[in-house]
Amino acid sequence: MNWKKFFIAFIVAFVFLFVFGFLWYGKLMHGAHQKVPTLWRTEAEFGNHVPWLVLGHLVMAFFLTMLYAQFVRAGGAGAGATLGILVALVYAGADLITFAVQPLTTKIVGGWIVGDLIQFAIAGAIIGAIYKPSSLKTT
C-alpha cells in the first residue's frame, strides 16, 4: 500500500464528496426535500448533528479509497470511475428500498440515485487518478 498517495486520494475524495453532497443534496434538492418536511430535522437540530455529516463523509471517502487501493490498485481514473459507478449501484438499491418504506417522492429518490451515480463516478475517478501502488522492488 502506498500510504502517501492513499492519504492524498482520501483527502481529495473527502473534499469532493462533501462539497458535492452540499451542492446536490443540500442546495439543488432542497425544494424537493421540503415536499416532505416531517422527514427531516429542523435547521437548529441539524446544526447540532453536523459532526455526524462530516464523520459520514470521512468514513465514506476513506473506505472508497481503501476499496480502490486494495482491489483495483493501478487502473487509473477510468477504473476508479467504474468502481465508483458499481458502488453507486449498491447505494441505488438501498435508495429504492428506502423509497418503498419511507414516504419519499419519486423526484427525491430519482435525485438521490442520479446524485449517487455522479458523485461516486467522479470520486472514483479522482481516487484512480491520484492513487498509485508502491513500485515493485526488484531483487
Binding site: G21, T38, L39, W40, R41, E45, F46, H49, V50, P51, W52, L53, L55, G56, H57, L58, V59, M60, F63, L64, M66, L67, Q70, F71, V72, T82, L83, L86, V87, L89, V90, Y91, A92, G93, A94, D95, L96, I97, F99, A100, V101, Q102, P103
Partner: protein, 137 residues
C-alpha cells in the same frame, strides 16, 4: 458467466429472506418506535416491488464488484468486500442520522443486521463465483 448468474441469484435470495426476517420480523417493534418516518404498512406493500428491485440491484452490484476485482480470493475476499460495502453503508447512515430524526438504537440495529447480511453475502458469492480460467493461445 454461469457462475456469475448463480452467485447473483443465490445472493439475491439470501438478501431477500434476511431482509424479511431481520427488518420485517425481528426489528418490527423497534421500527414501530419511529413510525412517523415510515409509510403505513399497506402503502409499503403497494410498493413492495421496489424492495425486490432494490435488493436485486444490490446483489447484482455486489457480484459485479467481486467479479471485477476480488475474484480468485474465494470466501475471504467475499467477506472483506462485504465488510467494506457495509462500512460504506454505515457512513451513509451517519449522514442520514444528521438529517433525519432516527433513533440511534434503530440505526445501530440496522447496521448490525447489515454487517451480517453483507458478510454472509460475501461468503455466498466468494464460494460460488470463480473467474474463468485463462485460455492458452
Amino acid at each position: 458467466m454461469k457462475r456469475f448468474i448463480v452467485a447473483f441469484i443465490a445472493a439475491f435470495i439470501f438478501i431477500f429472506f434476511w431482509g424479511w426476517l431481520y427488518n420485517g420480523v425481528l426489528l418490527k417493534d423497534v421500527l414501530t418506535e419511529a413510525q412517523s418516518l415510515f409509510r403505513p404498512l399497506e402503502e409499503t406493500m403497494g410498493l413492495f416491488h421496489w424492495i425486490v428491485i432494490g435488493q436485486a440491484g444490490l446483489a447484482l452490484a455486489f457480484v459485479m464488484i467481486y467479479a471485477s476485482g476480488f475474484a480468485g480470493g474465494g470466501i475471504a475476499a467475499g467477506v472483506r468486500l462485504g465488510i467494506m460495502l457495509e462500512i460504506l453503508a454505515v457512513s451513509a447512515r451517519c449522514i442520514i442520522y444528521a438529517t433525519q430524526p432516527f433513533p440511534v438504537k434503530l440505526l445501530v440495529l440496522v447496521s448490525i443486521g447489515g454487517f451480517i447480511e453483507m458478510i454472509v453475502t460475501g461468503v455466498i458469492v466468494g464460494a460460488i463465483y470463480k473467474p474463468a480460467p485463462a485460455q492458452m493461445p
